[in-house]
């Protein structure tokens, strides 16, 4: 079964013809060329594929592409404002919250979701929220610091929502 899906990705209209079994992450990576969203497992555990769908953080390996018909999707490629990093991205860089970079897009997308719902999360709240995101490089120490700093920056003068959302 082939079906055409039309949706908005990072503020721009997009469409692709996919199979019924095509996952949202495959639509993004293989049909739209947005390879910033990664696949790190096949059991929806690792969180490398987290994107926002209609403002909610979603593991894009758990959603069929056809379920995203008409949806507003934000991926890591849409977070920065042009060449200017979003405060959360900047905080990740400033706190060395990434090493190999593979889990990073999912981490950033999860962090933005957390801060949207909890603008001033404690260390414990951050660690518990990250239950759904695996990182093998950082030991999470600096990711926690990065998210705390990013949340603080977002409470300040910086824009509260990603540029394309």
């Amino acid at each position: 079964m082939q079906k055409t899906v039309s949706l908005t990705v990072n503020g721009k209209p997009a469409s692709a013809t996919v199979e019924g079994r095509t996952l949202l992450v495959q639509l993004l990576r293989e049909h739209l060329g947005l390879t910033g969203t990664h696949v790190g497992c096949d059991t929806s555990q690792c969180g490398a594929c987290v994107v926002h769908v209609n403002g909610e953080a979603v593991k894009s390996c758990t959603l069929l592409a056809i379920q995203a018909e008409g949806a507003n999707v934000l991926t890591i490629e849409g977070v920065a404002n042009g060449d200017t990093l979003h405060p959360m991205q900047e905080a990740f860089r400033d706190n060395h919250a990434l090493q190999c970079g593979f889990c990073t897009p999912g981490m950033v997308m999860s962090a933005l979701d957390l801060v949207k719902n909890n603008p001033d999360p404690s260390e414990r709240e951050i660690r518990e929220y990250l239950e759904g995101n695996l990182c093998r490089c950082t030991g999470y120490h600096n990711i926690v610091l990065g998210i705390k700093a990013g949340a603080a920056a977002m409470r300040g003068a910086a824009p509260a929502t990603p540029a394309a959302e």
């Binding site: 990740f92 860089r93 060395h96 190999c100 970079g101 990073t104 239950e131 030991g139 120490h141």
Partner: protein, 793 residues
């Protein structure tokens, strides 16, 4: 301000934070096909007919190849890179390692066929229609079971008794004599649990063949693309280096598991010209669990002899090491030269004997994983030392101090081959104990006890041999490769610099750390430096990144190449300044005549080298582009001390790591931010080994029971504490930077520190050892099996 020693923000982060990294699976080649590997569901089976007829006519299928097709083409097996000789002088048993199984499968996940189709979905669908005739036979997965009489034989007559080699290092007679006169001999049996590396990026490979040039290209998730080119080109596919390009682009973590040459790399490269299109393969995580080389898996008996003053007299270690079903690339070196040589630890133990029997089983091959042999050695040494302290009723810190190699005893020759160049174990232990509040611990234990909780504190010290390795030494010990590194420093006409390094970054931040070296070394802004790695067509050669070697070996190669650039620059500057070369000084990016204000900038000299109108042509060639190869004189020896504090709920067995304090000596530190990150990550993997992670096979069937993230417990953010880090510097004495390496330390020292803390928490119950991973179930059972010591007395 000098760049070295400052926490320069990483230059690679922008692309990773914006989704613009280029990992292998992000690459799509025009016209590419997709490969799916059909893998054995059985641990040990004779391979009968493979019927691909229905699958070949499935939609989208272009080709299906089996082991017979590959064998018919004269393709070699995957080579093993290190030859070990047994005690009796016999070479190790080295059975073949075909890229696709022939005659027999030897572990769950052993590849039996590859399906190549227009889409991955079609390849996977077609694979389900392949009918493989398996005659299933009993399997053996446990290393201790495999050496018992009557055990299933993984390689039959090719490795009788499943033994690959039976090897030893050290002076057995001296050890036995020392044990005979020891006031006390402490004994322990322990297991080092099997782990799965689990880099977050699954392995992937794209093979491509250009019929016009006859050149093959392999994009692969590798830590060492030149090594893959050498192994695959020379031993497997018989392609000359000049016709084979291997590219390892952004790689999403490795931890050792991406050092090795894997079957899929050879298969996609071999298949590309046969299907006349590029062929792409990407592992699913389930495939990673059953095809990436795994780590550790030792069963060990250890004895430590002490004199009446609690000085160590002798250490005797006997280890069974699981190699899995095939020999992975560097598997044979890990439980020998990377393990036994580290059994002196940080101590003056005068007599040491280590024997290792390496054993085949029906499991995924075992090879280097973060630390590779050194965590296993540290675990053995630091557990037996802690047990000795417990038996003697001594403080474990005090027992360690009494036996440390003193800071003024370097260089120090151990009885197990290594010569440590520098270290200061007293200081790092004191720093870690002070930072951890070690001397006040009993108050915290009492407070926890009032809450009904069991609290414990544990120390581990470690030494590691990094910066592999002097090639001559490695060669004498059986290595089939050299272990130097290369770098080219290419100065461009306007003074910007491209550095081509044979090291490979898969998270370590080389683009930043190496830039700091070059910015300071040539006195130019860091923005003028570009670090290039990971492409055999770009850099001269490379041995890649593993064993915490990139800065100590690769960084030194860059320094050596910069030295050549500066030396040539001085000659050019002397000509321009009409001075003697001996009078030219190079400092802060300027070539000046000593004692004068006459100088030429680095940029002016570079321009002169490429626009040589006024140039010493009789003496020099134009251009400013220098290459250096650096072969280290010795290993480097990072060391340190860790203190872990844990709390256990006796009702549930739930363990919390309350604090983890690390004090490390990595020699000179170039970027402290990056170094801290490396330690954090190593600690997380070490704590993971101690309390969460364990790769488990079913003993009856050989099935992999921990085949996904549902079953294999990866450390998550809420499993780990914040880490308290500090560093103390003793310089490496034999490389110009004085650097030692930091990538593996955490994974080496943390398991023993945590295990010692757990035993300390439970010692009131009479517990003397806990096997890793110390899961809540294991702890709960231990607690409930042991009568409280106080109650029993």
């Amino acid at each position: 301000m000098p760049a070295i020693g400052t926490p320069v923000r990483r230059r690679e982060d922008y692309r990773f934070l914006t989704g613009q990294g280029t990992y292998t699976d992000d690459i799509n080649r025009p016209g590419q096909l997709h490969a799916y590997m059909l893998r054995s569901p059985h641990a040990n089976a004779r391979l009968g007919a493979i019927d691909t007829s229905a699958a070949k006519s499935a939609p989208g299928v272009v080709a299906i190849f089996t082991g017979a097709d590959i064998a018919a083409d004269g393709i070699g097996g995957l080579p093993c890179g290190w030859l070990i000789h047994s005690k009796d002088g016999a070479p190790m048993k080295e059975p073949p390692h075909p890229v696709l199984a022939v005659e027999r499968v030897r572990h769950v996940g052993d590849p039996v066929a590859v399906v190549i189709a227009e889409s991955l979905a079609e390849a996977r669908d077609a694979a389900e229609q392949i009918v493989v005739d398996y005659a299933v036979e009993p399997a053996v997965v446990d290393v201790a079971d495999a050496v018992k009489p009557g055990a299933p034989q993984v390689w039959g007559d090719q490795a009788p008794g499943n033994v690959c080699y039976d090897w030893a290092l050290g002076d057995l007679a001296a050890v036995d004599a020392a044990m005979a006169r020891a006031a006390r001999v402490v004994k322990l049996d322990l297991v080092n649990n099997r782990l799965v590396a689990n880099a977050m990026e699954p392995r992937a490979a794209i093979g491509e063949f250009d019929r016009a040039t006859g050149e093959y290209t392999l994009f692969t998730t590798s830590q060492n693309p030149h090594v893959i080119r050498l192994l695959m080109g020379a031993f497997v596919l018989h392609i000359p280096e000049a016709k084979l390009r291997v590219v390892a682009p952004d790689v999403g973590g490795g931890f050792g598991s991406k050092i090795f040459h894997y079957a899929e790399e050879a298969i996609v490269t071999w298949a590309a010209p046969r299907v006349r299109r590029p062929v792409k393969w990407t592992a699913e995580r389930s495939e990673s669990f059953m095809s990436d080389a795994q780590g550790r898996d030792h069963v060990t008996h250890v004895e430590l002899g002490l004199d009446a003053n609690a000085k160590f007299l002798a250490l005797k270690v006997s280890t069974l090491a699981n190699l899995g079903g095939y020999l992975s690339t560097f598997s044979t070196a890990v439980p020998t030269y990377l393990y036994a040589t580290l059994c002196a630890g940080t101590y003056t133990t005068p007599a040491i004997y280590v024997e290792t029997k390496a054993v085949f089983t029906n499991t995924v091959p075992v090879d280097a994983y973060r630390g590779a042999g050194r965590p296993e050695a540290t675990y053995v040494v630091e557990r037996i030392v802690d047990l000795a302290a417990d038996e003697l009723g001594m403080d474990p810190g005090e027992l360690r101090r009494r036996n440390f190699i003193p800071a003024d005893a370097f260089p120090y020759q151990t009885p197990v081959a290594l010569q440590y160049d520098s270290g200061d174990y007293q200081t790092t232990l004191q720093m870690a104990q002070d930072a951890a509040g070690y001397s006040h611990f009993e108050a915290r234990r009492a407070e926890a006890s009032r809450r009904g909780k069991l609290r414990g504190i544990g120390i581990a010290t470690y030494i590691e041999a990094c910066g592999m390795a002097p090639s001559a030494v490695a060669g004498a010990l059986g290595a089939r490769a050299g272990l130097y590194e290369s770098a080219a420093v290419r100065v461009h006409p306007t003074g910007s610099v491209t550095v081509l390094t044979g090291s490979h970054s898969h998270g370590q931040g080389h683009e930043t750390t190496f830039s700091q070296l070059v910015a300071d070394g040539l006195g130019i802004p860091i923005e003028s430096v570009e670090i290039v790695h990971g492409d055999t067509n770009k850099m001269p050669f490379g041995m890649g990144t593993y064993g915490s070697r990139s800065l100590a070996v690769g960084g030194t190669a860059i320094v050596k190449a910069m030295d050549k650039v500066v030396a040539k620059g001085k000659k050019i500057a002397a000509h321009l300044l009409e001075a003697s070369e001996a009078d030219i000084e190079f400092k802060d990016g300027n070539f000046s005549v000593a004692g004068t204000d006459r100088s030429k900038s680095f940029g002016e000299v570079a321009l002169t080298a490429y626009v040589p109108h006024n140039f010493p042509h009789e003496e020099l060639e134009p251009g400013l582009d220098e290459t250096a190869f650096y072969d280290p004189k010795n290993f480097t020896f990072p060391s340190g001390a860790y203190v872990a504090e844990v709390e256990i709920d006796p009702d549930t067995g739930q363990l919390t790591v309350i604090n983890f304090t690390a004090s490390d000596d990595f020699g000179r530190i170039i970027n402290p931010m990056i170094v801290s990150g490396q330690v954090h990550g190593g600690l997380a993997q070490g704590i993971g080994q101690a309390v969460l992670e364990g790769c488990v096979y079913d003993k009856a069937t050989g099935q992999l029971l921990t085949g996904s993230y549902n079953d294999y417990a990866m450390p998550r953010a809420d499993d780990l504490p914040n880490f308290a880090l500090s560093t103390h510097v003793t310089l490496c004495t034999h490389n110009p930077l004085g650097v030692k390496g930091c990538g593996e330390a955490g994974a080496i020292g943390a398991p023993a520190a945590i295990a010692n803390a757990i035993v300390d928490a439970l010692k009131g119950l009479g517990v003397r050892h806990v096997e890793m991973p110390a899961t809540p179930e294991k702890l709960w059972r231990l607690i409930h099996q042991h009568q409280p010591r106080a109650a029993a007395e």
